[in-house]
Symmetry: C2
DNA sequence: AGCCAGTTGCAAACGGTTTGCAACTGGGTG
DNA sequence: CACCCAGTTGCAAACCGTTTGCAACTGGCT
């Protein structure tokens, strides 16, 4: 069965250079400010989606305002440098996305300890296409996350 | 290809009798009050998930408080009489669930006009099982919704 | 060096949801 | 059938994540 994804996503966790990130910003006529560099630095070192509050907590205190993080994430999302995920707990989470990558992928989240595993599998293309055709929809994508009990929490 | 769901869900839209609903409530030692009957009455006539505010708007005005709806939906969800869905717009939606049904299913939502279509397809069981096994997780489920442009909105 | 669009911090506003509390009531009991 | 109380309700305030108005500030161009 073919289950690969139509979306380009490199499941490499190699960190992007900060310089590469800032040059992407500059290219979009965005300023490289202290808060932004600090936020990118945090995201860069984090393999899993972070909430704005988590980013805030990791910032050297006083480095920047929470509102600034919200604004930065909005901008980074619009530029496609960051992808927004929703684990259903009412707080958006963000993950850095490589250049040329659309960041589409899914997670397996422990419902007890919130551990997150990145998942390679995706919803089968052909079924999604069938769903779109059957209902006459175009530009169909999906939001998909898995939930369960992680090995640690089963003990 | 086998894509059916391991979860029992009858995609019948036949309305449940109000009497059946209230007897389920009574069985759980819950009181049948005016607000609750009115809420069930609304849900019963609605094929698609409703937000609490939408339910509120359909209630004869003054029938009950918004907080009461929130409390009712929490209770109904706990009793398994209602299923919560999340279309990613920050408002929970609820759909009545038949007895013996777990309500697990998915939707295709128009990103422009918010039209909702119920989807029969589900994430393939065997892949989900593989994901669970590979990562040592148990009790794995998923949250899955599709988004696209409906036929009307393509014009 | 100077300028200005873009950015920031702060505080207030916002929208969905929850909660404390006092008044009320469904439905079982005597 | 009247009584009683756990469960329920309305109201208002609290909550929490997120957005926004505004005045002060600054990156990076000229």
């Amino acid at each position: 069965m073919k289950t690969s994804c139509q979306h380009r996503h490199r499941h490499s966790h190699k960190k992007q250079e900060l310089a590469a990130l800032t040059s992407r910003l500059r290219r979009e006529a965005r300023k490289i400010t202290g808060p932004r560099a600090a936020i990118l630095e945090i995201l860069r070192h984090h393999p899993h989606p972070l909430t704005n509050k988590e980013i805030f907590a990791q910032l050297p205190k006083g480095e920047c305002d929470l509102a600034t993080i919200y604004r930065a994430m909005q901008m980074l999302e619009k530029l496609g440098m960051v992808k927004r995920f929703d684990f259903g707990d009412g707080a958006a989470r963000f993950e850095l996305v490589g250049e040329g990558d659309d960041g589409h992928h899914h997670h397996l989240v422990c419902t007890r300890c919130a551990e997150v595993v990145e998942i390679a599998e995706c919803f089968p293309e052909e079924i999604e296409r069938r769903i779109a055709n059957t209902n006459g929809f175009t530009g169909v994508t999906h939001r998909l996350e898995f939930f369960g009990l992680c090995p640690e929490c089963q003990k």
